[in-house]
Symmetry: C2
Subunit: 661 residues, 2 copies
């Protein structure tokens, strides 16, 4: 049955329109063949419109859905389970699962201990702080997090970011206490930022960092971190504080004659070779992944023993020296809640927190997709935030999900977050019992371990795929990469975000338009460039606009349509074809229009009227038709110029052509 | 004839695909009925892709088109005509046209003289500078500009902007020379910015200021300007320098007991009443527009004469006092090309230049549309820029197109830019001969003239239309308005741009998706919300994605599709309908996809495979199909799952339903 165009207006004006439309209703059955007019959805009230928009923006996942029609006690339990997923999966926990978690937990513990010590150096913090951060945060996450595969702890990129941003404020060598106080402050605010983003359901903000930008940023950060390790690897005492490649290379070559220590290089290089071989084995044969997982710990043990026996530290081989024994001391009183460092801590914390989130969410989603379960981004952010807030009060610095350790966790067969608990227990025992044994661990080993770990962050396969698929995306990737290695981590980040956003805006400013033609023997109209068989309809120009029509592009779209028309008219003059009398604008892809867009359509209409060409619209969407009616553009163009499909419009205005079909 | 999907690959892999596809080609005739597969456009080379993008972004209007196939001398002449359109229209200039231009020129001259004096006070500059700016710039524009209706000179909003921004740097009362030097510097850089934007074809940048934002900004600026006039209108000597409404109202009421001057108020109020009545008459009867056009000059003459006779200036009525006689002195040597004010001048000039451009281009486009000729935005910018550069060297401040005077120019029957020449000549004669006569003009009259002029900038009809059409647009409008009146002009501008961009980004982050249903007795599939007649196909869920799939929305789109599926499955369980086996994603509106988007599709595919639901794509556009192939997603999903239309896909997977049609 044909549907009325009118939306049942109240004023006399609309009444007339509705009477007219019922007239047309009768004709339209004849005109359109199938008898459908363009539907106008019922107008929503302002409140409904607003609440729908809020719901779709902030509650896209419909979080309260499962609470429908449940008794109160059940609701409370479900609510608790929402905050502490452990209450859910804990009930079905079994010995079989624990076996998997135990092995995975032990494996990632062996990997995390040397990494933690190395990463804390990257953040200019004492080595035990790295270990602290692998004890408390994983325990909190195990109770609150929803990922089963993520391995929590300090990570290379965030450590580097924190280290460079904080040392701009306080010198960690001359003022170690103030520096660590500032680090705890930043950690606190990183947690607050993360939890707030999740709580206020603003998690979509991190999606403004595109995949391409992350690939470039990570690769740049990996190279920067590897370059920083040249200090420990070559045994250079006076090293630059800057992180860009030019300063670092200058520092490295400037020290070549009297700053390099051959014993250090020998130890570092041989163990780096060992680590890389282990990594290669683990990659070639997935069953031997544990070789690469325990290689770092083995390197630490062997090299520490070696240095202890040969006393190589007396020959200039730098060693870890002292790691404080005992578990995390409280640090809540150390956080700056006032004074000039409050703002700095907040700023640095917010940036580090966002990067931490991006990394953790990406990891969580990757492994969730592999195992086929869902991750709730916002809930995950609350868990990560809480863990960092608690961490900042127990002498930890920013922890998040680690790419390399999560992969090992997954491959070692972890089943639940209990593997994080196992890891935390091992780290606790290490802190309580064996930290003094790390005294003779050479720094070069830690550097080798970090270098071999961060090389995995360079995802050249993704970069190549990005290059193949989208050149502008690749530019964002390259921009982030170059920004990080030639300037600084923050700058690279800024470049990545800027290019990502510019790409969207450019797309919105210069959208595509296409000429449509008829696929012979069908009623289908398609882009003539994509379908060379598609034939143009004589006397009719059909243009499709492939974007929402907004102020940024409304003028361009108007002028582009007029240019299509001009080109076509010239071509038709050359070939002496019939004059164009109708311009059909296919609006299917036009999902929205604003006041500037309607202005542009009005101007297009005027320009066409001067040339005696009729403007016809095909298939406007619900939002577009509603707005065109609100602005009375439908009256201006005439309701009989708006069709359900291009085919309907052609049938009406060029019936001969269609008869030939 | 059916078309092959393969793009003629070279590797063995693609060969297999192409053989498979030729197999399918035979079936597809049977399957699809009409026998068309999704077309893959020939792949462009990197260079072609890049140069096409550059061309579409910067040379959308194809400026070199008219030079094709022409002899060299003709090309040079055309090139000159491009830069100086006067060479084109000048050849056909006639006495008939001059009659129109003369009347229009005289009318706008009578309007501009009092306005210029008033606006220069708004910019804290001596009154003659306003007149200078109505002499040189209009002459340059007449030779270079392409609009026939625009009236060039100082305008209220730019004067206010310049005045507030510059007085933050230098106090115009204590350091008048340095202040005017800075003003010329800003004017110079405003011109450079404008010309550069045009020359480098970056004109589209000004389109980032939406129509809604401009309406709000202009209304806010008008109210701010009117409030500023209370100083002259009430005769207050000590007035605040801030422009926000709170400071101004405080200043006004704080002076109520001893700061107001009743003689001034009497003169101001009576002439404001006269001006408003004249304006009302001009608006009611379009033929009497000249009443409102000459009312300001008449007010100035009468009030000056009145003050001269009564010597009201001795009773506290502030007067203009001294206007320097003679035409523009050179000022090139006054521009700061070095020193600390260079940067300030550049910053202020760039902002003022952009606002000036926005206003001039909007006016130019409006009147060009009314008379049905084209305006070239980029060329126009070069003209405006050159005119301001020359202006800055001849003691002018930033000039642009004035809304009110251009409307009068149009209504007075101007034919070409010669009306600007007439106006400039009158202003020149004024400067040479009669400036001393303005000595006794009361400031209150200038304030009344400005108030009555800027009231026209408050476009409440547009604001109401914006409210009706798009609530978010209205928010941008309101934000700009409130920002300007409660804080400052710059701040309001910033708010306007920020809201405009945020709106686009929000749209890109949370795009619409729709469930499609079949319109009975057709092969058309449409949004079930817009067309309640549309019926869902049992066992098949059809979802349309109404946006490009980018990193900002890829996760949302994936999860939203899964939510549609979940909702539908629940509904079907309740109603005991057949299980959903196919998910058709209609990609017609998806104009582009990036690597994150392809990832999201891969994850969607995995999630569906777990539930034993087949993913089917319908009508991917040229860019999308190319990228899906580059990323080998087409192999993953299977080429036989990609259809030309939803109807084809339904025919294949739910043939029974279609048979019933």
């Amino acid at each position: 049955m044909p549907r009325a165009v009118s939306d049942g207006g109240e004023s006399i004006d609309t009444d007339v329109a509705s009477r007219t439309s019922s007239h047309r209703r009768v004709d339209s059955v004849h005109q359109h063949g199938h008898g459908y007019n363009v539907g106008v959805p019922p107008k929503k009230s302002l409140f409904a419109e607003f609440s729908d928009a809020v719901k779709e923006t902030f509650f896209a996942d419909d979080p309260l859905r499962q609470y429908k029609d449940l008794p109160r006690s059940k609701k409370i339990w479900l609510g608790l389970e929402q905050v502490f997923p452990v209450l859910g999966w804990g009930r079905n926990y079994s010995l079989g699962k624990f076996k998997g978690d135990l092995i995975a937990g032990l494996t990632i513990a062996s990997l995390c201990i040397p990494q933690d010590i190395g990463y804390s150096k990257l953040a200019n913090l004492p080595p035990q702080v790295g270990l602290y951060s692998s004890f408390v945060p994983p325990l909190i996450y195990a109770a609150m997090g929803s990922s089963r595969d993520i391995a929590i702890g300090p990570v290379a990129v965030v450590s580097l970011l924190l280290g460079t941003l904080l040392q701009n404020e306080i010198d960690p060598n001359t003022h170690p206490l103030e520096y660590s106080r500032l680090a705890f402050t930043a950690t606190f605010f990183a947690g607050v930022t993360q939890a707030a983003l999740g709580f206020f359901r603003l998690g979509f903000i991190i999606e403004f960092l595109s995949h391409a930008a992350i690939v470039g940023f990570m690769a740049g950060a990996a190279i920067t971190i590897a370059l920083q390790q040249l200090k420990g690897f070559l045994g250079i005492a006076h090293f630059t504080k800057k992180s860009d490649i030019v300063s670092v290379m200058k520092s490295v070559w400037g020290n070549v004659h009297h700053g390099w220590n051959w014993q250090t290089i020998l130890i570092g290089a041989s163990f780096l070779a060992f680590l890389l071989v282990a990594k290669y084995i683990g990659k070639k044969n997935k069953k031997l992944f544990w070789v690469s997982a325990i290689a770092p710990l083995i390197s630490v043990i062997i090299s520490t023993f070696f240095v202890y026996i040969t006393r190589a530290d007396k020959h200039g081989v730098a060693i870890v020296k002292n790691i404080k024994k005992g578990i995390n001391p409280p640090s809540a009183s150390l956080i700056y809640f006032s004074g000039p460092y409050l703002a700095t801590g907040f700023r640095v914390g917010a940036v580090a927190g966002m990067i931490g989130l991006t990394e953790a969410i990406a990891i969580g989603r990757t492994f969730a997709a592999l195992k086929g379960y869902q991750i709730d981004g916002n809930k995950e952010m609350v868990a990560l935030g809480t863990m960092n807030i608690v961490g900042s009060m127990t002498s930890c610095y920013v922890a998040t999900g680690s790419f390399s350790r999560s992969a090992v966790n997954y491959m070692a067969g972890c089943k639940t977050a209990v593997s994080n608990v196992v890891m935390a227990t091992v780290v606790m025992l290490t802190l309580l019992l064996i930290t003094p044994l790390f005294k003779y661990t050479p720094n070069a080993i830690l550097s080798s371990i970090i270098i071999s770990a961060v090389l995995g962050l360079i995802d050249y396969e993704s970069a190549y795929l990005i290059w193949k698929v989208d050149k502008l995306d690749f530019l964002a990737c390259l921009g982030a990469f170059i920004g990080v290695i030639f300037s600084s981590v923050e700058y690279g980040l800024l470049v990545a975000v800027a290019i990502s956003l510019a790409k969207i805006l450019l797309q919105v400013t210069r959208p595509r338009t296409a000429l449509l033609g008829n696929l012979p023997r069908t009623t289908i109209y398609r882009n003539v460039e994509q379908y060379p068989d598609a034939t143009k309809v004589p006397g009719v120009l059909i243009v499709r606009v492939d974007s929402a029509i907004y102020f940024t592009n409304s003028n361009y779209i108007k002028e582009r349509i007029l240019r299509w028309l001009r080109d076509e008219e010239e071509q038709q003059q050359d070939q002496k074809l019939s004059k164009i009398e109708f311009l059909i604008v296919e609006l299917s892809p036009v999902i929205d229009i604003d006041t500037s867009g309607i202005h542009a359509l009005e101007e297009l209409l005027k320009a066409l009227q001067k040339r005696k060409i009729q403007l016809v619209l095909a298939n406007p969407g619900p939002v577009v038709i509603q707005k065109l009616r609100s602005a009375k553009f439908t009256d201006l163009i005439g309701e009989d110029k708006i069709f359900l499909t291009v085919s309907d419009a052609v049938k009406k205005f060029a019936p001969k052509v269609v008869d030939n079909v």
